[in-house]
């Protein structure tokens, strides 16, 4: 077991022939992930990374039986690509692309909810289930198969948590980057619920950051629904209000979205909080083994 992706996953890649997609898909394939085909409009019929390239998603799905799409399409064209994926009876759409307009995501998120399709991202590193499938841009080498579920709004901070949980011998069940945008396809709550159901996940690391109230909402959910130990770090205690810290969603505005508020809400919900990103691995080790 695991969440979202495993060795049964059949994936296609949209924006397949671009340089980022080429780099990361070849690493995913090397990892053993079943990427069955690619989609790049205008390049149908070509063979890329030894795989067929299709004109559109529905053809690729029909030919391969894919259930998942990994999207690298540049932001200006990404609304159309996600839309196409939503219309093609896929179960999971993982969007790596950064810079998608917020109103596009409002529309796509509403449509995905209506169709019952899960979107992960955008502006995220993707999803990995160590030893089974890697659909994203995370470095494979730091991961190890194990028992910690990791969910995060940030890419490199996720790697930090992954590395620490590998070093301390716990390993990961699955790692999910939900992305740094204001309107993500999936929330902390969506992923926490899956980790709670997953028998291989014994503890959860949740990495949040300033901006919005997703962590506060997760805290309420955790109090009611999560029985597994959780460790949480929130980035940006030292961030000034009114300044966007890299991610489109990482901004304290109108006094809302501070790291203090999030830490407080999570602590009240019984979550073990750590104030330094260097302490994540040790803390989840203690929580699981206590």
């Amino acid at each position: 077991m695991s969440i979202l992706v495993d060795n049964q996953t059949i994936a296609i890649c949209q924006g397949f022939t671009g340089s980022q997609a080429t780099l990361h898909c070849s690493q995913s394939i090397e990892y053993g992930t079943n990427i069955a085909a690619g989609v790049t409009p205008g390049k149908a019929g070509q063979i890329h990374l030894n795989l067929p390239v299709f004109e559109n998603v529905s053809q690729a799905v029909k030919e391969t039986g894919a259930d998942t799409s990994l999207i690298f399409v540049p932001a200006p064209f990404c609304k159309n690509s996600i839309n196409e994926a939503l219309d093609s009876e896929l179960k999971l759409i993982i969007v790596i692309t950064e810079g998608i307009p917020t109103l596009d995501m409002l529309y796509l998120k509403a449509k995905a909810d209506e169709l019952g399709v899960r979107i992960i991202g955008p502006n995220c590193p993707g999803v990995i289930t160590p030893g089974q499938a890697k659909l994203g841009i995370m470095p494979a080498s730091i991961h190890s198969k194990g028992k910690v579920g990791i969910v995060s709004r940030s890419g490199t901070l996720t790697y930090e948590a992954v590395d620490q949980t590998s070093q301390i011998g716990l390993g990961q069940s699955s790692c999910v980057g939900i992305g740094g945008d204001p309107i993500p396809g999936s929330s902390f709550i969506d992923i926490l619920e899956m980790f709670e159901q997953d028998p291989e996940t014994e503890g959860i690391v949740m990495v949040g950051e300033i901006g919005g109230t997703a962590e506060e909402e997760a805290a309420e959910f955790i109090q009611e629904k999560i029985s597994k130990p959780i460790v949480s770090y929130i980035a940006g205690v030292s961030a000034p209000p009114g300044k966007r810290m890299g991610h489109a969603g990482a901004i304290i505005s109108g006094g809302k979205g501070t790291a203090e508020d999030k830490f407080n809400a999570l602590e009240k919900a019984g979550v073990r909080i750590v104030k330094s990103p260097a302490d994540i691995g040790k803390a989840i080790f203690e929580e699981i083994n206590s």
């Binding site: 932001a75 901070l157 950051e209 990103p277």
Partner: protein
């Protein structure tokens, strides 16, 4: 990206919203024509900067005299306006908005914002306008009226009714409000805004609605398809270093500490700032060099960090996943040699080939301390900043 009040009002007018008659003054030589074109008895004169609190800072006056308009323009054009929302330098004034003065009966608040929790556009109205809406929400939440638009981004008649009742409008004002709110939503969606605030929206002494101020934030991700809005960008209102950094694909935010930071990834960059603070130091900046860490981006990042004279030490924290640490190390060494960095640099490289990277850094004979443990690296950088 933010717009000026006069740009917001230009867009309001374009979308059929009620605004005061106005003229713009960019130079003193514009004053005579602006005054005679407006042809009114009394004026509001407003300095245009990207910051609130202009009134209290002397950036807004009411007058009937052309001489006072001239004095105001002489005072502000080409100088900086400091308000409680700006830093101590203030924001440069290059444009002054001259408007017909409105006799105000009532001040209301109307705002549109992308609401992250409900994943929708929220319309927020309050009969308590003219003041900080956050404090109204805090002190008298019963005076805040909200509706959340469905995925069509259209407002329903009963939602309009809820808002206009909340605003305590009369029948003719209801009609005006209904068209105003529909047009405002259309503007918001057409132009990819992330926030519009009209504070205050006023009822004047003839009972009519008027948008007396306008604050607009634009979704930066959508600028590629909003050419006209992008053309309204006023770079003079932005932090020069942050702007320069963005041209190199670097995300940089100035802070007031002494430890410069260079990190890959926004989350880890914030995490690095946090750990500097936990170690008893103060970060001088947020800086995300992005995914492609190479010699060019590292060089530009160094230049930006050291242009802040407060910086006493630098902490580089790179989690090399896809990028190899030895390549990053070579980039750091040659960038430091190129620019001639004298202040101490603590480098924490994690990931592929970090052992080779450490050797490259040590062999360089530069003022570099290599440390793979993040906590120790932060402590070292903080010690060196004191």
């Amino acid at each position: 990206m933010n717009l000026h009040e006069y740009q917001a009002k230009f867009l309001f007018k374009d979308y059929g919203l009620p605004v005061s008659k106005s003229e713009l003054i960019f130079h003193e030589s514009d004053i005579d024509q602006a005054v005679s074109k407006l042809n009114v008895d009394s004026f509001v004169v407003k300095a245009q900067v990207h910051a609130g609190g202009r009134g209290k800072a002397g950036g807004v006056i009411l007058t009937k005299k052309k001489e006072e308009i001239r004095d105001f323009c002489q005072k502000w054009l080409g100088t900086n306006l400091v308000t409680y929302q700006t830093d101590e330098k203030g924001q440069p004034v290059s444009c002054i908005l001259l408007e017909e003065c409105t006799d105000i009966e009532t001040e209301l608040y109307l705002g549109l914002v992308i609401d992250r929790s409900s994943r929708s556009i929220a319309v927020i109205a309050s009969p308590d306008g003219g003041v900080d809406i956050e404090s109204v929400a805090e002190n008298s939440p019963e005076k805040i009226f909200k509706v959340f638009l469905d995925s069509t981004n259209k407002i329903k008649e009963e939602e309009i009714k809820k808002l206009s009742e909340g605003l305590q409008l009369n029948q003719s004002q209801n009609l005006e409000f209904s068209s105003l709110i529909k047009n405002l939503i259309k503007l918001f969606v057409d132009k990819d805004f992330s926030l519009i605030e009209i504070n205050p929206l006023v009822i004047d002494n003839s009972g009519k609605l008027n948008c007396l101020d306008g604050k607009i934030n634009v979704d930066g991700n959508a600028l590629y398809r909003q050419e006209a809005i992008n053309g309204m960008r006023d770079e003079s209102q932005e932090d020069a270093l942050e702007l320069d950094a963005s041209k190199w694909g670097l995300n940089y935010v100035t802070l007031d500490g002494t430890v410069g930071c260079m990190v890959n990834g926004a989350g880890l960059a914030m995490g690095t700032m946090d750990i500097i603070k936990l170690s008893g130091g103060f970060p001088a900046n947020f800086l995300d060099v992005g995914g492609a860490v190479n010699r060019e981006s590292v060089t530009e990042a160094f230049k930006i960090i050291v242009s802040d004279s407060k910086v006493k030490s630098i902490l580089i924290n790179i989690f090399g996943g896809i990028v190899r640490c030895d390549i990053v190390a070579e980039g750091i060494v040659s960038a430091m040699q190129d620019i001639g960095i004298q202040i101490p640099v603590v480098v924490r490289l994690k990931g592929n080939n970090s052992d080779i990277a450490k050797k490259i850094l040590e062999k360089s004979k530069l003022n570099i301390f290599s440390e793979t443990d993040l906590t120790l690296a932060a402590k070292k950088a903080v010690d060196l900043s004191k």
